[in-house]
């Protein structure tokens, strides 16, 4: 096969056996890769009603056919399992170098099942695959774990070439928003998949590949990559804005248009946002730029705070981490960098843990969360408390023992479930959807919870990319959401291309690279349909896991509490507007309006019946 490596590595942690299975060409073509192939295996092999932290759940790492080929931004891989946070299908996307390295070792996917009797890590060098003791790694942070594994490799050149993915203390402690980290600072953050890895007593995977990935049509591929690169270079957003300011460059802009949420989605257009903008991070703390494999953008980079009390190192924060700090009303750029570093080192999702802190702050300020349960007086704006609570959550200490079960568990325990702002138990991200109506529909219908990554309608509604749409109307939003969800699921996430690259290169440019790499004769529409197939498959998993149509909902705060500031002051998302968009969306998707199930006709059309 070309594009695909052609092999699946299966590891049974209970018995310690590892075996290699061929990736079947028909299966690969139909589900492409990434979350597509991973979701199909989960659906076929895991009972959706299983306890996510039991040995019966499977944890899958899955790359795409573009990963590791040299496709522009073809660096990505996806972790997938039943999510302990949402109870539905969970998946989280990551870049860095680990996914490409797995392809160089000859594998498209790793399927992990069972549970090791004692902590282990998986060692892969091409065909050599073994489980090794991780007793010396257990309890270590993410950077400590990587360093210890590398120190154990005699040849320093080989050590430098080895890519490592691991969990931190949060994953070991089965924290429901634990991340899986790779290359020290790249996070597969959402849905608590780090806890699934921890539940299997698997601390890390180290991989080194000495091979390469072949492409089917080398000349066409070269031309397609050059065209993709030219598009990125010509686009000021990808070639200037992103490298200079990171995704946090959006903070001031989104704040000025009333989209950046503050204080747990209670306020917008707060002047303090300027103190935690991407510009400030770039100016004060960024040491240099750093990109993932085959990335001409390089939006990340090591950052360092030298002055107390927040001294420390961290990767440049992403927009969503800037947002979550604003949601805690902490307007201190050093605290933002420190929080990001602490969460990455402990292996915990900045978004969900930050959102749970913001919820705790609101519960505390409103008198629902007693000071004795926190151990100190907790209020919005306290950066040290934000970081301390994230640490306590990773270690399940103090209030962290409750927070580790997720924001919903915290809000319910203190009698106000409405104060954790979530969809399907996953925290909402940095968009005030009173003012971005397509995004409200996208969140509500997302299969993994309040996910901004797939179906990012904000690009068109707010940023005006590729064209500006009115964020306040509901007209045309159902087809927009469906098209963007299918596009992200198929052409980007399944193929292994970074989502950010859509800000620079067009879907046809990405498709051309996918087709030249695989040479299977894809048509653009076929890949879009694969995206739709993946979406429906994940929907089916959720419905079988017990989620219902009622979970396609939007938090009451957006429906009932008017916007307190900004250009749309006084706005709410009207219930009837939301219902109308949802109905239109179900019709477009071919889903039953009463049950939310895909109709038989739709399943036949997608070859899922």
């Amino acid at each position: 096969m070309d594009g695909w490596a052609g092999k699946i590595l299966r590891v049974d942690l209970t018995s310690g056996s590892c075996r290699v299975e061929a990736l079947k060409p028909d299966f690969a073509r139909k589900y492409i890769g990434g979350q597509g192939t991973a979701s199909k295996i989960l659906m076929d092999e895991v009972d959706p009603l299983v306890d996510p932290l039991s040995p019966a759940n499977k944890l899958i790492f899955s790359t795409g056919p573009c990963t590791g080929t040299g496709t522009v931004c073809g660096s990505r891989g996806v972790w997938a399992a039943k999510s302990p946070l949402t109870g539905g299908i969970g998946f989280a996307n990551t870049g860095g170098y680990f996914p490409a390295e797995l392809k160089f070792a000859g594998y498209d996917m790793i399927v992990l099942e069972g549970k090791a009797a004692k902590p282990v890590y998986l060692w892969i060098v091409d065909d050599v695959v073994e489980l090794r003791s991780a007793l010396n790694l257990w309890g270590k942070t993410v950077p400590e774990t990587e360093d210890l594994i590398r120190e154990g490799i005699a040849d320093k050149w080989v050590a430098g070439e080895t890519c490592i993915t691991c969990i931190g203390p949060a994953g070991e402690n089965l924290v429901k928003m634990a991340a899986i980290m790779n290359d020290k600072h790249r996070a597969a953050g959402r849905g608590g998949l780090g806890a699934v890895m921890g539940s299997k007593n698997l601390k890390a995977i180290a991989v080194r590949g000495t091979g390469s990935v072949t492409v089917a049509k080398p000349e066409e591929f070269k031309t397609a990559v050059a065209a993709g690169l030219a598009e990125v270079k010509a686009n000021p957003l990808a070639s200037e804005g992103f490298p200079r300011y990171g995704s946090g460059g959006s903070v001031n802009f989104l704040n000025s248009v009333g989209v950046l949420p503050h204080k747990n989605f209670q306020e917008m257009c707060v002047e303090g946002a300027a103190q935690i903008s991407g510009e400030v991070i770039a100016e004060k703390f960024l040491i240099r730029n750093r990109g993932c494999y085959a990335c001409p953008i390089a939006c990340g980079g090591p950052s360092q705070v030298t002055q107390p009390p927040f001294q420390g190192k961290s990767e440049r924060p992403e927009y969503e981490t800037h947002f979550i700090v604003a949601s805690c009303a902490v307007y201190d750029s050093a605290a933002l960098v420190k929080f990001n570093g602490v969460c990455n080192d402990l292996g915990i999702d900045t978004i969900d843990v930050g959102a749970t802190v913001a919820c705790a702050m609101e519960l505390s300020e409103k008198g629902y969360l007693p000071e004795k349960d926190v151990g100190f007086k907790l209020s919005f704006g306290d950066g040290e408390a934000m970081i301390r609570l994230a640490e306590q959550t990773a270690y399940r200490q103090g209030l962290g023992a409750v927070m580790a079960e997720g924001g919903c568990a915290l809000a319910e325990k203190y009698g106000h479930p409405e104060l954790f702002i979530h969809i399907k138990k996953m925290a909402c991200t940095g968009y005030d959807v009173r003012n971005v109506k397509g995004m409200a529909l996208n969140w509500a219908t997302s299969v993994r919870g309040a996910c901004h990554n797939r179906g990012y309608t904000t690009a068109a509604e707010i940023f005006g990319h590729p064209q500006k749409l009115d964020p306040l109307t509901i007209e045309g939003k159902a087809p927009l959401v469906k098209a963007m969800q299918d596009l992200t699921a198929g052409i980007m996430d399944a193929a292994g291309i970074c989502l950010f690259s859509v800000l620079g290169q067009s879907p046809p440019a990405m498709f051309a690279q996918l087709e030249a790499a695989t040479g299977v004769g894809y048509a653009f529409e076929e890949v879009m349909q694969a995206g739709e197939r993946i979406w429906n498959l994940q929907r089916l998993f959720n419905l079988k896991a017990g989620l219902t149509k009622d979970d396609d909902n939007i938090p009451k705060r957006f429906l009932e509490e008017p916007a307190t500031g900004g250009p749309n002051k006084g706005n709410v998302l009207e219930r009837q507007e939301f219902e109308a968009m949802l109905k239109g969306y179900y019709e477009m998707r071919g889903w039953d309006l009463k049950t939310g199930y895909p109709t038989k006709e739709k399943l036949v059309e997608l070859a899922l019946a």
Partner: protein, 98 residues
Amino acid sequence: MMAPSSLLSGEERLMNIEVRMFMEFRSYLPPEATGGRATMPLEEGSTVDNLLNRLGIPLDKPKIIVVNGVSLGLSNALHSPVLHEGDIVAFFSPVGGG
């Protein structure tokens, strides 16, 4: 540069527009500006394009313009609405994503 209002004929009336500059757009601010902000007097009826000309910002320079909290989108989608007294116009380098 703007002519002092005393030199203008009585027919020409001025309005004050608050300009907020972000990122590299700060270099287009008049020297007396502080905190990335400045108040610009403009003839009544002026448009966003007139403001760009006044500030010396090339019309084709990539940017996102926000007028009173409403995004006009990336410059390729830009239209040039008429401005009014007290309007706040913000300029950003192209950004996106989350």
